[in-house]
Symmetry: C4
Subunit: 265 residues, 4 copies
């Protein structure tokens, strides 16, 4: 098979987007970015415009609620939000090999350019290692001119943070955008790094809405936060070895309302 397969469901001349902004929320630390992007796809009136399959993704299919399979991949949705057209990149996975990250991020940017994107926000989590740390959103940019505006909208900038840099698509997309002259920022919500963190996602969503000057209903995220709190309570109550040793994907179990919460960072 070709290295990547890209299926376009709509072309730019049909969509006729004006000043589109790309939002990237792929799996990563605490699923903080993924929850925000998935939430945008759900609550906004979105439609899928691109499917991306790649030999760099894990060799795996997911099983849907109706027992049909879906090949692991990434998808791009388009949604109108206030005065903006959002292109939202979501998916089950990032590349499972090093060079694939480079290959896929170049592909994402080529698609972004094709649809006329001039600004990109990649969303991620920033692990603090502490369970009850102060919540904020830290940023990194590929153009220093973006910092003033983002600071005013509540994004924090700290010298050389994260100290280990940014690994994966959230970082590489900033670099490849820079090569193409597209402004891009990575926004990272602080999170413990141990569990899926929809609470951090909600804070990240608020900052992002503020930056984009759009209104997004966050009720569904509140629901996810409550579910996650229940799971954490259950984990606290249960002895290790009883309920606590769930090994993702290794056997049948009663699926919870939202499987994405079953995440251990």
């Amino acid at each position: 098979m070709k290295e990547n397969i890209v299926v376009y469901h709509y072309e730019q001349d049909v969509l006729n987007l004006t000043n589109p902004v790309m939002i990237v929320g792929l799996p990563g630390v605490g699923h903080v970015g993924k929850f925000v992007a998935d939430h945008l796809v759900e609550v906004l009136e979105s439609k899928k415009i691109v499917d991306i399959y790649s030999a760099h993704f894990p060799p795996q299919v997911m099983v849907e609620k109706d027992s049909t399979i879906k090949l692991v991949g990434n998808q791009i949705y388009v949604a109108r939000a206030g005065h903006l057209d959002l292109l939202i990149l979501v998916g089950d996975s990032q590349s499972s090999d090093t060079s694939g990250h480079y290959n896929l991020c170049e592909l994402y940017i080529n698609i972004a350019a094709k649809f006329g994107v001039r600004r990109i926000f990649t969303l991620g989590g920033y692990p603090t290692g502490m369970v009850n740390s102060e919540d904020y959103v830290i940023g990194a940019v590929n153009n220093p001119l973006m910092i003033d505006n983002l600071s005013q909208k509540g994004i924090e900038f700290k010298p050389s943070e994260p100290p280990g840099g940014i690994v994966g698509a959230s970082g590489l997309i900033l670099a490849f955008s820079q090569f193409c002259g597209i402004d891009a920022a990575c926004l990272m919500g602080t999170t413990s790094g141990y569990i899926a963190d929809p609470k951090s996602s909600k804070i990240l969503l608020e900052k992002l809405s503020n930056i984009l000057e759009i209104d997004v209903d966050s009720t569904a995220l509140d629901e996810k936060i409550r579910e996650m709190e229940k799971i954490v309570e259950k984990l606290k109550d249960s002895a290790v070895g009883e309920d606590g040793d769930y090994d993702e994907g290794s056997g049948p179990y009663e699926p919870s309302a939202d499987d994405d919460l079953v995440y251990f960072g």
Copy 2:
């Protein structure tokens, strides 16, 4: 060498298959699927029509009973069963690297299409993590229209199960078949996941025979089940470190009647 080498021993115009069905049983969880497919090759009057070698397989040869070597690979056999022509894909190995899975599954589907295959069943095991669990066969499909018929034949369908999706050829083949408009289902027999499980294979074979409306003698599988029970008894009796530390492939030993049973999942 080329990425893959495919040797055709018979072509479609010679075989003149009508409405062929492909059965896939490669190594995997509990060898449940492999045992069924190997059994079909043995008990049906089958002949090998394709040899597949690939740089994605382990760099290894197996040694036959007559001390000649055989390069690790996959094979496709054809066999008449009732009113059907079965194409049975078996082999020593799946891809040893991620992208190889994509490459090989596309190859399998190309071969299937070449021989006019319109339906595919991939066979696998579904690990429950429990040694004495209830035995059943769970299914996933690439076309929801298949579910009704399969349910009537005793296949269970549960929303979003397996929760971690299906990894490897059994899953990818469903996805690639879908791209080509070939109906395909993955049938997974429940198994502990710890040892080779011919008992689960027998149940899977019964369901498959039921679906295909063919009769298959399962005596040889019964033999395998008894051997496996003996091995399990021996493992229970022996202290760890005496008989229990067999490391596959690391040294000479008296080969048992069926080496495939020496499997630790």
Copy 3:
């Protein structure tokens, strides 16, 4: 993307280098070589002439002090030192896969040849496994005619040492240079192998200056040595699990004056 992206900021006909010497100091054992090369870039009046990006590097961006990102890569600087033009190859990373090492080292040598380089010194550390061992610099060459001169300048040569050979760019560059008829030596400062070792770097810098017959101010390295001594003291004082369990890149922390020192070999 192409396997590698090379951006030239100056061409040879503009720079008009005479008898240039290439110095290579990439990350490795104790960062001994990296510290020397980075130091040369800092203290000499250097300018960047080449940027190298590659899908063989980790998929990662670093965050600068002004919160802008920088794609992981290698850089070549040019600097006048005494009667010599130095081309100094530095960077955040070596290849993250085997074949990438071959690919990148061939690229380095092609660039060296393009700029007329006739001598190359690759700098590295030589792990002794002992914390308080005698400090010296050991050498290996791709042309035995180099040994006499280097011995006179204080480089030690011991038969078949290092016994395990030289792994990575420092070694491969010698081999690729040999194919092109460029004289090259690898100079390795002894170091414990457990921590970043600017003290070893200083000794290596002195030998290198001696060989090149240039004067280089080493004050900045002295500063680094003092900082490292403080870190080691702190590590000794702190109980394991209190201060000692710093996991690089896993969370926010107050960046020290020099992050490169936070290294565990």
Copy 4:
């Protein structure tokens, strides 16, 4: 760089070999095969005819006694032995990645064919897991017609042994030879699998000489056996953690007369 670089020092029309036999002894279990092939290169009047470098080998150079470097690679020597021309394939390494094994073994067979080779013997070790086991040589072939003759020369053949097949070049070369119609056998000397085993090599050499009907002085191997016995004695005497924790390649040490003996399987 190209995937592989092959340097021919002599061509077939110059060497004018008649009925050449290829012997393959690359690093592997107990270095049993490597010791035999290296020994043949030493004691016979051999000359190097081919150098093979590859991006599939580790990115590493070895350091020679005169402190010059040598890129990790494989070499083919030619030597007259009795009535035969031997092509002896030796080297520092096998492929460090899966697909590289396929690539390199095809290359070896292409070179063999180029020089008119009609018979190949790959040499290896067969790990028994026991320190004081009976010594013998087991064989596997790519043509059953070879078995009678080899049995008469003292090679043992046991059904389906080794049970895990033959991994790496020793096995793949048999498969690729078969595709080209070249007869090939793998001869494996039994060995514990824990340490380098020149004693097993000597037995393997005797059998090989017997098969080829040539005389080979084995004095140098006797020397190696005595050295190995000394090392084993020393290991027995020394407490673990004193002398026993040598980690190959991790630091300076006094090189023994033969570094190849410092091997832990």
